[in-house]
Amino acid sequence: MASTSVIDELKKSQILELLEQGKRVDGRTLDEPRKLIIEINAIPKANGSARVRLGDTEVICGVKIQPDRPFPDMGDKGIFICTAELLPFSHPSVETGPPGPDVIELARVVDRGIRESHMIDLTQLVIQKNKSVVGVFADNVVVDYDGNLFDACAYAATAAILTAKTPKWEMKDDVPTLVEGGESHVPTTTIPVSVTMGKIGNYIVVDPNGDEWASMDARITITTDSNGNICALQKGGNGGFTFDEVIKCGELSVKVGSKVREMLKQAKERGQ
């Protein structure tokens, strides 16, 4: 991810020193995410959209909904695709061109969290079995970078989907045809929340900011659903986690996730 420019070794040791006193560079507690602001309907032309600020990280997600051909082995299900991209002005190190491995991982992790939670009831998005289904495309763009894009993108995509309205199509002469006035909310079953934690030394910090992101040895992203179940997980970075740490991270993700879920619920209500 926009692998932050060469971080000062001094900064890194300062971060670690503070952690030893139970503090973080920006004054948060270890299990405290940054301030989250969710603005919905930022892009009225999209079927659903959200602009999310997680501290100084900013992401816009637009959801486009349109008829598509189903995947060959899933003719009775709609399509969901989630992407993520770093806009070139999001950080000085970002270059245009095809995405690198970090960005591809980001997009796939965000996609997986939402997909695996079965947030969208894809069985309700069939126009004609094996022939035509509804496709939901959630495209994330990172506007400003300050660490932890995984969660910012996931929250933006989730908020955009929760508030998205899908048009209605019916098959007429073998073509999906728009039915006027048939708009409805995208059928959802749960609210997935991703929580990313970084490991710096022997400390686990929730929602690492840009400096922490550049200093950490490893990270773990865990997505939980409304029932408090874990539905997706991704470990990254070249350090490792102990078993206890992995369990602790699981607990943290449920605890922190439930608070974030409340904010997503409020965003959904604002979109009603």
Binding site: K45, V63, K64, Q66, T83, S90, E95
Partner: protein, 244 residues
Amino acid sequence: MGGRDATLVLLDENGIRCDGRKVDEPRRIMIKAGGLKNADGSAYIEFGDNKILVGVFGPRDVHPKHMSNTDTGILRVRYHMEPFSVTERKNPAPSRREIEISKVIKEALEPAVMLEKFPRTAVDVYIEVLQADGGTRCAALSAASVALADAGIPMRDMVAACAAGKAADTIILDVNNEEDQAGQADMPIGYMPSLEKITLLQLDGVLTPAEYKKCVETGIHGCKIVYELQKKALTDKYFGNGEK
């Protein structure tokens, strides 16, 4: 882009356009300087229903190195539309249209930017169209000028841009999406008002010589309106909240 409505009346008997404007009236324009934390300079513009963010970096090292010029700095512009910016989802990969617009915007800005002061460096302008509704290149160019100024890059003037065109046999200012689709001509103009130089000019559609002249005049009139808003955006950021 966008559906076409066969019953659309572009200009009614009272000279009012399909979105309620008069023939010489631009859409609502809001320009904000700054806003991005990481970029050296940035700007956000809402031009009617267009929403565009611009970020600028530089002058900075050139990568790849062979692009650098020992005599002058170089300007690089990327115009890009988000997949969700238009009615039908757009493929995120740069299209031929986007590559062309990047080039015309770059060539429109080059005369304004004093690149010769920074040999062997690059100034990168990144334009991201969040929502498009006709006239994005003009809105993008106007915002890019503000972002360059916000980045503190020495400039001879700012480039202001606005389109003029023809719909229902009438010359109109600031062509919107419907008028672009169903109208007769679209002429985007980029103009440096203090230096009185046109730096971007394109046209598609048929105009008589008289209409052509009127069209350019109308466009320049629009650019001057935009110019005032560009200056206001910078004054607001650097001299307090619109007190000046």
